[in-house]
């Protein structure tokens, strides 16, 4: 990446992680729990979205392209990083490494997730059935639990870094508070995701 655009590319990478990707993740997980609680309402929401004119373009611009850019540039970031967690065993250094590992897991997970479930023309019910069948296999369950938790960790910890990157949390105290807040985000979203998976299995 040429020097002239380096800063803006890095900042766009950071921004996209929250807007729209992080927000989409939160929305997606909320919608999922809705699906297991009330299939009719879920079906309605899905159908409304599908019938929205230009939904393909919206999905492309708001979801697909940002994720593609964030993932592709993220791989460059991972390449430029290093691992020294055994020498410097600080919690933030472990999180630095985890952020990169979960990023790669999330990329694999999302690619598989979209490839297998985003089948055009299939009804919402058929998608849920396909997913339920998959997570009922031991491999499928582990794959989904690890994949979803990785995505949520990557988002929550990314949010912590976002606040630093954008110059919001500057001092050690505010960064400590934001660690707790982001941990809360992780716990809430993880609870929602795991409850949804548990309900699929029930």
């Amino acid at each position: 990446m040429s020097s002239k655009y380096h800063f803006v590319v890095r900042r766009v990478h950071s921004l996209l992680g929250l807007l729209p990707i992080g927000i989409f993740l939160a929305f997606h997980l909320t919608l999922n729990i809705l699906a297991t609680n009330s299939p009719e309402r879920y079906e309605k929401v899905i159908n409304t979205m599908r019938e929205t004119p230009g939904i393909f373009l919206v999905e492309l611009v708001i979801i697909f392209l940002p994720i593609l850019f964030h993932a592709a540039y993220g791989l460059i970031v991972v390449y430029g990083g290093g691992v020294n967690t055994l020498r410097y065993q600080y919690f933030r250094n472990w999180y630095y490494l985890l952020q990169r590992i979960t990023g790669i897991i999330t990329l694999i997970f999302v690619a598989f997730h979209v490839f297998t479930l985003r089948v055009d023309g299939a009804t919402a019910q058929a998608t849920v059935t396909a997913l339920t069948d998959f997570v009922k296999t031991p491999f499928g369950l582990v794959f989904y639990v690890v994949g979803v938790l990785s995505a949520i960790f990557h988002f929550a910890n990314g949010l912590w870094a976002f606040l630093i990157t954008w110059g919001i949390t500057i001092g050690p105290r505010s960064q400590k508070v934001s660690t707790w807040v982001c941990s809360g985000v992780f716990v809430i979203l993880a609870a929602v995701a795991l409850k949804t998976l548990a309900q699929l299995l029930a």
């Binding site: 990083g81 600080y90 954008w166 500057i170």
Partner: protein, 248 residues
């Protein structure tokens, strides 16, 4: 405490040469530091096997943790050998050169890149003119005291050594040089050239390449608030970049 001091030292005769570990045993005396033990080896370069060897090469200068010359990895982490007291270290004491800089010999490395980065960010205050420019603006005492903490940086390399983003695959200049931007931008005269330093921070290897692993602030022997400097300059760099773009 046993009556010997055991050291494992990573030896390498020069760049590109094979490296190997050599063990030394030095008679114990109280209140030694790593430098004085290395001096013992220099006087009598015999390893633990009783074999005569070459004296271990290292650098030191001030011996009071203000120059940074004797920085090396001691038991896995970068610190100054002069303030690494034998009585407080776990044995065998493992000495390795800093890994992020080109090796010269044994424990001696070439930290030129640290100084190149200081030049890159213009970590100085230009006061030369063709005539007497007179006295500069005054600095508030409270601000001077605050800035003094940042000025304690001795360019030792502990922060870059601990930083996972500072490596051969990345151009990241490391926390030390970036924190100096904050110091010189805070100075009333230095502030006049603020834009020049911020411009450099926007380039590849600058502030955006920080990965927030936050090892630097813990590794810094001078207790410089490096992560606060980085976050503060994130804010400054963002404002500067937006402002520069809007004025184009």
């Amino acid at each position: 405490m046993s009556n010997v001091i055991e050291l494992r030292i990573k030896r390498q005769d020069g760049p590109g040469q094979p490296s190997s570990w050599e063990t030394f045993k030095i008679p114990y005396r109280p209140k030694l530091n790593v430098i004085s033990v290395l001096m013992e080896i220099q006087q009598n370069p015999v390893n633990a096997a009783g074999k005569r060897t070459t004296p271990v090469v290292w650098e030191c200068n001030c011996l009071e943790e203000v120059c940074g010359a004797c920085t090396m990895n001691i038991n896995g982490q970068a610190r100054q050998a002069c303030t690494a007291l034998i009585d407080q270290l776990k044995q065998p004491i493992v000495l390795e050169p800093l890994r992020k800089f080109p090796l010269v010999r044994d424990l001696m490395v070439d930290r030129t890149v640290m100084f190149d980065n200081l030049k890159k960010v213009r970590a100085w205050i230009p006061i030369d003119g063709t005539y007497d420019l007179g006295a500069g603006p005054r600095m508030a005492e409270a601000k001077r005291q605050w800035a003094y903490e940042l000025s304690k940086c001795m360019t030792c390399g502990c922060c870059t050594e601990s930083c996972p983003q500072f490596n051969a695959r990345s151009k990241f200049m490391g926390p030390a040089a970036i924190s100096q931007v904050r110091l010189f931008n805070a100075h009333p005269t230095g502030e006049m050239n603020k834009h020049e330093r911020l411009e450099v921070l926007l380039e590849e290897g600058g502030i955006a390449d920080c990965g927030n692993a936050q090892n630097c602030v813990r590794a810094c022997p001078k207790g410089i608030p490096l992560t606060t400097s980085l976050a503060d300059l994130n804010r400054e760099a963002n404002k500067f970049a937006v402002d520069r773009w809007l004025r184009k």
